[in-house]
Amino acid sequence: MEFKNIGYALLTIFIVLNYGLILQGVVRKIGARVGRRYGIRWYQPYIDIIKNYAKRSTITHGVMFYIAPVFRLTGGIGLLLFMPVIFGSDIFGNFSFAGDLVLVLYFQFFGILGMALGAAESGHPYSAIGVSRGLSQVTSFELPLTLGVIAIAMQYQTLNITEIVAAQQGGFMNWTIITNPFAAIAMLIAFLGAMGRSPFDVVLAPQEIPIGPPTEFQSGLLGVLQLNRAIFPAAKLILFMNLLFGGATNWAELILKTFLIYMWPVFVGTVFPRFRVDQSVRWFLTVPLIIGIIAIILI
């Protein structure tokens, strides 16, 4: 590892952060347009973040409350940095030499755990309820995801993401989604859960448990969480792109592909109403699980 890698990493973070924020705005805009509204401005997320940082006062419930956003953002950034973002690029390969797919899968939990701890520290019962729901849901969609990952790793005989991407080069017929459709479907369904959009958004459930885990977060703390909300989904999109859709050799391809992938949860979310936790848990452990098992059997 050389120090220039740090610089490259900062560059990646910067690009992905902006991309994530814009993506957020654009997607919400699209959602509004579908609902025949004009919708927010595409740069609204920027304003929101600035506004939150511009808050003058902050309260804190304790050390963990304070550290939670740090955990969360570290988790998001780490996830991003442990993946090769652009295939074949030294600059945007980031720290993917530190670990493989397993690291990436497990590093997702870093942020989740930290956030959960902070939310709990706030002492707000609704935060805790949100965490309970969130963790329950995470456990259930991880199973098809894991099965899909195993299937893919076996398909390519490696856990190295770069190599997985490399194996998919040369046209869309080499993409995993074509070559290993069951694994891909299982993972894509799990992806719905991972993105936390409707119908699997009971974790946040605005108004019911105000907004779940981050209920007590405000001002700068919320700003950090918002940064993560930009980076983390983008990172996940990149991961799925790398695993299922042949990765990206340049930023344009990356933006196009991830945008299209993002449409999948958006569409589903627009169409389906919310599941209760027990429903979603049961659902994840039936249909996607069976698909995942089929994927495994078909290896």
């Binding site: 927010i40 309260i59 919320l222």
Partner: protein
């Protein structure tokens, strides 16, 4: 006072009695602070952001609340102005008090207001918040909201239409952009006065002076 907030004695695991004064032990009783605006250039930029990102906490106790919902619909679509709804006072910056306030509700309104972070803005919706409206002589409602907390924008009417609401938000934006939205600081500066007013009407005062 609610039974739960009275002083009580519990026995610690070691068997020692512990005096609990819930109001002191469970609630912070720090006074609110006045926050100086930052350097004008930064402040100006910040105010622009604040004005364009109005996160609303709707306090729908009165009939006026019904007029807020249409703002989210395609017809009025308040989102395009950067207005969004937030379910928790911690994250909201605009407090919309809609309609008459009974004494009992006032207590909640004050508490909620105090839980919002500086800077924060208040929109009072409907005639009742201005002068009591049709409840002006009621034994149990307050007549003027701005005796109890600084109000940035009043929207008159009974009921005010969603359009008026939008106009009110627009007005608020202007106020913020011009740097006049210092209600939170005003509240802190004139804290004693506001508290005295509040305590005058709220007879069973059973909370700390400032609800963090």
């Amino acid at each position: 006072m609610k039974e739960d907030f009275k002083k009580r004695t519990v026995i610690s695991p070691e068997g020692k009695p512990i005096e609990i004064d819930p109001l002191k032990d469970y609630f912070s009783d720090a006074k609110p602070k006045v926050y100086k605006p930052a350097h004008p250039i930064i402040e100006k930029f910040a105010n622009w952001a604040r004005a364009n990102s109005l996160w609303v906490l709707g306090f729908g106790t009165g009939c006026g609340a019904i007029e807020m919902r249409p703002l989210m619909t395609p017809r009025f679509d308040a989102y395009r102005y950067g207005i969004q709804w937030r379910p928790t006072p911690r994250q909201a910056s605009v407090f919309v008090v809609s309609g008459y306030l009974s004494v009992k509700t006032l207590k909640r309104v004050v508490r909620t207001y105090e839980q919002m972070q500086n800077p924060k803005f208040v929109i009072a919706l409907g005639s009742c918040t201005i002068n009591g409206g049709m409840y002006w002589d009621s034994y149990n409602t307050i007549n003027r909201l701005d005796h109890y907390m600084p109000v940035d924008v009043y929207i008159a009417g009974c009921m005010p239409r969603p359009e008026s609401l939008l106009a009110g938000f627009d007005k608020l934006k202007t106020i913020i952009t011009e740097g006049r939205g210092e209600g939170a600081n005003t509240y802190a500066e004139k804290f004693d006065w506001y508290k005295a007013n509040q305590k005058k009407v709220i007879k069973d005062w059973d909370m700390p002076d400032y609800n963090w």
